[in-house]
């Protein structure tokens, strides 16, 4: 599906035209007022319009009409560019969310009308838009699920590829932690009855769209603090410009209103001011592109501050199930014979462990031509399984179960086998002992398979300063071993839901921020307690309600991506602020000599860029100031790349790129613009 093209083009034609229109709509003063920095530019634009009219009416002290009109035009475009940045970010976010929402609109729903206990409930097909919270509907094989809901009866395989992009069907059933279904997914087999859990227009997606559209978007704490700082810079530069008037009078230098407004607009941090809200929206949008629905912009920002990450072992750190990794025949037993017996004993074993044994042996069990096989199923009582054929009886099972069998038959349990069993256990594995006719043949080692590449990811997290904690039901010994092997920093063994909760509370009381992922109802309190709680989309409604993000892919490693998205968001703001302020140095050197050169010719020495004339200098500076905004939109939308190289190294890197770069780039840019502008003046 199209929504999974994660790198859709930055400026799609339809989005751009939509954003262009919005840039004008956003000129409404009430909307502009939300951004104090750009609002002052807006006022400057209006003042310049007044100046142009004044000149047209005959005023001569303010320079030529054309010159003032150009300044007016450039300022107007500056405002539009800032609006465009916000609009394009909104448009992209909305497009992304809409494509998710489209899948669930106007699907026919088999609504159930309960008519009492004695009669069969009536079922009628209605459009999905008529479903309300609490309604029940039915879905059979081949049906599209019309609305988000919770299964209350039945079990079904469901194709969720429309949402997750994962083609393998998943099983959802009532009662458990996997009872949630999402609108737009398709039932492949069986029949389920579902209760609608959200009102139309109130699903997480709807909420997210509202966030992106700005209707319910609130400034995040860091955004507020930054806005304050930017506003104070703006006031400082306002003071610079206002006091310049008496200073200039003292120096007998007339300065035009156009020059004052230009100086002011160039000095205030328009670059970051214009891009600030776009950066915030783009953060949510990037989360959505990673198939994560966020319930607030704050959650994304908080993700960047996470100190501790709680991860479930199964599925996150290890590949779902244990696998056979080694065969250890007992002394005096032929290895080939031992492997043959293990393969035969696993022939009818449908468990993933059993299959992995055959996989490891690499032998097709049917190649052994055996007569009259009789398969012994695993029971909780015997704790072994196996095969009987001819006169041979092969058993495979937990070491003490097989030991009992052997010792009852008067055979010894070889010392080296006992040793091996112990060794495997202490290495985090599970030993399976195999016996032929109650005589011990050897041990199969089953191990948790750690996901390839996961330890590198943990290393990356460690460099970010994030502590990883593995949560598992395993015993402490096994847990410790896997934790060490995977490279996590800590683990919670034999974990119960309240253990998670307590761990989170402990970390929080020490001042750390904790993120976790969960799906079950019993995860809900912990999800709510965590600073960032990511609920899996397959999880229960309670879990989804408790968390502040929902992961559509049900991918437990997603937390790592979310943290990086959060960090990128803050970094983009910080670096663009630095860039914006650093730009002022060059702008001063362009404008201030231009203002005073006529009355104090000695100041020509400050015109280090050798700009053509005072007018061209001022125009080049305001034009540079305007075009830098659209040039940085791609960076604002994509975010500054995060590199886990430690905070100090990262700071150094960003200071050089955006601080030093921010000082140098405008010198070059303004000079080049001046060369062009000079051609026309």
């Amino acid at each position: 599906m199209s929504i999974h093209k994660k790198n859709t083009k930055l400026f799609e034609g339809s989005l751009v035209s939509q954003a262009l229109k919005q840039s004008f709509v956003k000129l409404k003063p009430a909307v502009m007022l939300k951004n104090p920095v750009m609002f002052t530019v807006y006022i400057g634009t209006i003042i310049m319009l007044g100046v142009c009219i004044w000149i047209a009416a005959g005023e001569t002290s303010q320079g030529s009409l054309a010159y003032n009109l150009i300044i007016f035009g450039v300022l107007f475009i500056t405002v539009l560019f800032a609006n465009f940045a916000e609009a394009i970010a909104e448009a992209r976010g909305k497009a992304q969310a809409n494509s998710l929402r489209k899948t669930r609109e106007d699907t026919p729903a088999k609504k159930i009308f309960p008519v009492g206990e004695m009669y069969v409930n009536e079922m009628k097909i209605v459009p999905s838009s008529e479903l309300r919270k609490g309604d029940h509907f039915l879905c059979e094989a081949g049906d599209m699920i019309p609305m988000d809901g919770e299964i209350i009866k039945g079990i079904a395989t469901i194709d969720e590829s429309a949402i997750t992009g994962e083609s393998a069907p998943v099983i959802r059933e009532s009662g458990g932690d996997k009872s949630s279904v999402t609108g737009g997914t398709k039932v492949l087999s069986d029949k389920i009855e579902v209760r609608v859990t959200t009102e139309p227009g109130e699903s997480f997606l709807d909420k997210m769209i509202a966030l992106v559209e700005g209707a319910s978007r609130q400034k995040t704490p860091n955004e507020i603090a930054l806005t304050i700082l930017l506003a104070s810079f703006t006031i400082i530069f306002l003071i610079v410009c206002v006091t310049l008037k008496p200073f200039a009078d003292y120096a007998n230098t007339p300065i035009t209103i156009g020059a004052f407004v230009s100086l002011y607009v160039c000095l205030i941090p328009t670059t970051i001011g214009g891009l600030l809200s776009a950066i915030g929206i783009a953060g949510m949008d990037r989360a959505l592109r990673a198939n994560v629905i966020t319930k607030s912009g704050k959650a994304v920002e908080t993700a960047g501050d996470i100190d501790v990450l709680l991860l479930d072992k199964t599925g996150t750190i290890t590949i779902g199930n244990r696998k056979a990794t080694n065969f250890y025949p007992a002394d005096g037993v032929d290895e080939k014979h031992f492997i043959k017996c293990t393969v035969l004993s696993s022939m009818a074993d449908e468990t993933p462990e059993g299959k992995s044994i055959i996989e490891l042996a690499g032998i097709n069990p049917l190649s052994y031509e055996i007569q009259n096989p009789r398969f012994i199923k695993f029971t909780a009582e015997t704790r072994n399984s196996g095969i009987d054929y001819e006169q041979i009886k092969i058993r495979k099972g937990a070491s003490d179960a097989i030991r009992n069998l052997a010792e009852k038959a008067g055979n010894i349990f070889p010392a080296e086998t006992a040793e091996r069993v112990k060794l495997i256990s202490s290495n985090g594995g599970t030993p399976l002992v195999v016996a032929e006719n109650d005589k011990i043949l050897g041990v199969i080692e089953l191990q948790d398979i750690i996901k390839p590449g996961i330890s590198e990811r943990f290393e990356r997290l460690r460099k970010m300063g994030i502590k990883t904690v593995m949560v598992t039901g395993d015993n402490p010994l096994t847990a410790k071993f896997i934790a060490e092997k995977a490279g996590v920093d800590d683990f919670i063994a034999e974990a119960k839901p309240e253990d998670k909760m307590n761990y989170i509370k402990k970390e929080q009381s020490e001042g750390r921020l904790v993120a976790m992922m969960g799906d079950g109802t019993n995860d809900a309190p912990a999800l709510a307690q965590a600073d960032v709680g990511v609920a899996m989309n397959s999880g229960t409604a309670a879990a989804k309600e408790a968390g502040n993000m929902v992961d559509l892919d049900n991918d437990p490693t997603k937390l790592i991506e979310i943290v990086e998205i959060g960090k990128q968001l803050l970094m983009t703001r910080g670096t663009l602020t630095t860039f914006s302020i650093a730009n002022d140095v060059a702008k001063y050197f362009a404008i201030v000599p231009a203002l005073f050169i006529t009355s104090i010719p000695a100041l020509q020495a400050l015109n280090i860029m050798q700009l053509h004339s005072p007018e061209s200098a001022i125009l080049s500076a305001v034009i540079f100031n305007a075009i830098i905004i659209p040039m940085l939109i791609p960076l604002a939308l994509k975010g500054v790349a995060y590199k886990p190289i430690g905070a100090v190294a990262l700071l150094r890197r960003n200071l050089i790129i955006y601080g030093l770069g921010g000082i140098i780039v405008p010198f070059i840019g303004i000079k080049l613009l001046d060369l062009v502008v000079a051609l026309f003046i």
């Binding site: 700082l229 100190d307 002022d584």
Partner: protein, 571 residues
Amino acid sequence: MNTELIGVMVTFVITVLLAFPLGKYIAKMFAGEKTITDFMYPVERLIYRISGIDPNKGMNWKEFLKSMLAINMLWLFYAFFLLLNQAHLPLNPDGNPNMTPDLSFNTAISFLVNCNLQHYSGESGVTYLTQLFVITFLQFVSAATGIACAVALFNGLKHKTTDNLGNFWEIFTKSITRILLPLCIIMAVIMAFNGTPASFDGKDSIVTLQGDTVKVSRGPAAGMIAIKHLGTNGGGWFGANSAHPLENPNYFTNMVELVAQVLIPMAMLFAFGFYIKRKKFAYVIFGIMTVGMLFLVIPTIYWEMQGSTAIAKMGIMQATGAMEGKEVRFGPAASGYWSIITTIISTGSVNSMHDSSMPLSGMMQMLGMLINAFYGGCGVGILNYFIYIIIAVFIGGLMVGRTPEFLGHKVEAREVKIAALVTLLSAFLIKGGTALAAYYFVNHGNADWAVQPANWLNNPGNHGFSEMFYEFTSSNANNGSGFEGLGDNNIFWNVTTGFVLLLGRFIPIIGPIAIIGLLAKKKFIPESAGTLKVDSLTFGILTFTIIIILTALSYFPPLVLGPIAEYFGMK
């Protein structure tokens, strides 16, 4: 190598060598550990008992500020009324008159805020009583107020989470009994032995070689000259301040006075490191401040030793450098060094006339005051630097992808708001004041005032602009030195600079104390690899860059119209 330069270097090295152990001592003393000055304890106990103070009662930031502001207000009224009526009070052997209301307003504020904006001359403007019980008294208590507020900052950072910034009265008292008083006694003795007067007699008269009889002012000056430097106040006994031969008799006393004024500000930095147990952080701050000082000092000494281009154009040799306004016994290097030290430290005492410095040296002196945080005044230097740190922490924190935090405390909207306000205020006071003065000078030059605005300036043009800008810069920085070509003893300057002095003193103290109070109350966040380390060199450089950029951006236009235009004009 040039002996003049060696003299400057030796002076600086001695300062560091003395400041380090003093810092260690200050940290120990405020931490309540055993020190050699414990014999002062009975005196302190007596003071506490008389004043009804419980020195062990902790204060939160609001209580701390309330105590500090209340006592300062009391001193202000006390000083104002004494100056207003000094003629009728005892210890006035020369029969000096009362101060005018606007002058006593300005003078009382000036010394209350640890500044020495002296719109009067010591010989004739004040009596021995007001010199001692107003001027010298305020020199002690204002310095101690600064130290106490810095220690409140230390206390906020010493503990993980606390709302106790210490007891103002206790810290204040100890600052005097354990730091200022002992050091002053030592220094006053040195000064007295080198020829500074220490007597209550009135004017003496001598017969010069030419046979004229000259009246020479004197008085109990040695003690005041000690505290004026140790307390970074700078207010001189005589009008010519430390350029006066009795106030600064020889090169040795010049070195002593130079060391003395930097001693406590520098020692406070080291004390900060020892006290909160983050020595590296203190060393990085010390390093950055020293680099900042060198950026100002080196060019200044170079320009001063080079001499004036205008004089060179006339074909006159200037082998001894730019000597206009300088004392022969100090020379251009020591005078250039002093002029920067006195402006970065907020002392404001002078041993040469800044008005006569080379144009760009004058700009360096202004920059020293505009930044006001390279070492900075007694205690308040750290508070000023702290504001820059908060801004650096905020921008730097965002740049590494985390909500900004300072030593384990999150820096959020409220703290940023306060830091932004403090920064904004300086820009407003300095440029607003200068703009107002420029406006009156241009548009109401002939206003019917005692001193007409048109007559304010000895040298109109770019230098005149510098004089006005310098005056407000100096007032806002609580520095006190001046480009003395400005006619400043009149209602306009006395009143405007009076208000600038008050706001420029107390807002930059209230701001940081409020921030630290808010921060210290927050939950402590342990450091991780993702945390921006404020004791790293990179962060130090970021702070330095922010200081430079912020100052340059805020004051570029007035600096261009004043010293820079003057410089290019002279070329």
